[in-house]
Amino acid sequence: MFNHTDVLETIEMVEKEHLDIRTVTMGISLLSCIRGSGKETADAVYDRVMKKAQNLVKTADGLSREYGIPIVNKRVSVTPVSLITAAFPEKSALVGKALDRAAGELGIDFLGGYSALVHKGTADYEEIFLKTIPEVLAQTERLCSSVNVGSSRSGINMDAVAEMGGIIKRAAELTGEKDGLGCAKLVVFCNAVEDNPFMAGAFHGVGEADTVINVGVSGPGVVQHALKFAPEANLTEAAEIIKRTAFKITRAGQLIAKEAASRLNTRFGIVDLSLAPTPARGDSVAHILQELGLEVVGCHGTTAALAMLNDAVKKGGVMASSQVGGLSGAFIPVSEDIGMIESATAGKITLDKLEAMTCVCSVGLDMIAIPGDTPDTTISAMIADEAAIGMINNKTTAVRVIPAPGKKVGDEVSFGGLLGRAPVMPVHGGDSGKFIRRGGLIPAPIHSFKN
């Protein structure tokens, strides 16, 4: 028999503190779908995803009912599509649309993997593929795209960085009537991971097994609630509280992941130990930082608080799961976190502070609305800065910014649902154009030579 406190604590976490399994993501290899033409390949891709993931939603919903813990999203990630369409890159959109159609019919919310890995150089077929991204994102609903432009081992492909600034702008323009929604489905990475269950950056790496189940846990509200009961704790004690809470959250994720994999007759991949916020009140990473004693997220001390939080979440989570992976850490998307939205709207958090925060958390500049007339080269320069942080610090960094068409600083963009809303934030005005147009490869850092 369990004691009362334990049972009621779990129930309270779910019912009052937004504890949930944020996503059960099935990774599916598409390598066996390559055929002689775009049309045949698209058909094979559609058939394979429909077959492999046919029971994903039903199984996840069943688990949710039986264990009494919500599973918010059911998703699929696939092999980077640029590899599947390498022989006919101009037909990549056919595969993208087939994937989107499958996602709709499966009843999942997002499917990730309209992706390319160009961190050391862009092949000819990848050049063509990259140019298809804006149109495909505008013409699909659930498809997500990501591009890896750098890594600690290879350096940063600055030609690709230069290209991505324009691609992001075009993706925004083509979805202008929806505030540039296309950009919410497009991430530019450095050190992208192959087993990430979270969107928009999920894809199924070529080193992965045929089909796997990766699970992303959540629960910022649970951590904040636990800290509320220790207002006088010093930061060592606060870190311990976060660790213990992260352990419990992750154990729930591990249980669901194992059970989902078993019922779907698939391998268990990883649990991603992330604190993923939503725009709902009580589900905010920013509010955890404020619970630690900051008046508002973005003030001095924010980076230190986030570093402690991120590390404690990992330490608690690592012991709770047999296989940890993905991005694992605290997410700081602006539009998807009510505390961040409030701080950004009040002008209390800046892009510079967000950039500093990305040095110590698990992701990068995420879901940030910027003026629609931001030059392509400025966006590229933001990507270069983030990629440099990732490359030098051996961590994943990403940029998911939305240059909202027709909007200027002070306006707001609204995507609804988990994608939330965000004020348009100012970017620096100085011209980065000449630096970006130089192109080439920023060489890998000295500490990459480990062999």
């Binding site: 028999m1 369990f2 009362h4 334990d6 049972v7 009621l8 604590e9 779990t10 129930i11 069943g62 009912r65 039986e66 264990y67 009494g68 813990i69 419990k248 154990r251 729930a252 591990q254 249980l255």
Partner: protein, 89 residues
């Protein structure tokens, strides 16, 4: 299968009898039962075995939830494994 039934709410009159009887009718065996008062809230926790249940687990969970509404309490049925995982190393 080991599962946990939790009943919470403010009105405790006849709750044990009603829920126990409901489980008995569906051939669900109660292995342990305990009650507590948290502030003005009543909480009852039952450890049950559903392996001989007349209906399958998710249907049982739905019926229990409906029964809870009928008696003005919140009733949940969950696999015991979730509590095991979160609270026992």
């Amino acid at each position: 299968m080991r599962a946990v039934v939790t009943v919470t709410g403010s009105d405790r009159r006849g709750v044990v009898a009603k829920v126990s009887n409901f489980l008995f009718e569906r051939n669900v065996n109660i292995e342990d039962i305990s009650q507590t008062i948290l502030g003005d809230q009543f909480a009852m926790i039952m450890m049950v075995d559903t392996s001989e249940s007349k209906i399958e687990f998710s249907a049982l969970a739905e019926e229990l939830e409906a029964k809870g509404k009928e008696i003005g309490m919140t009733v949940r049925l969950q696999h015991a494994a979730i509590f095991d995982a979160m609270h026992n190393v």
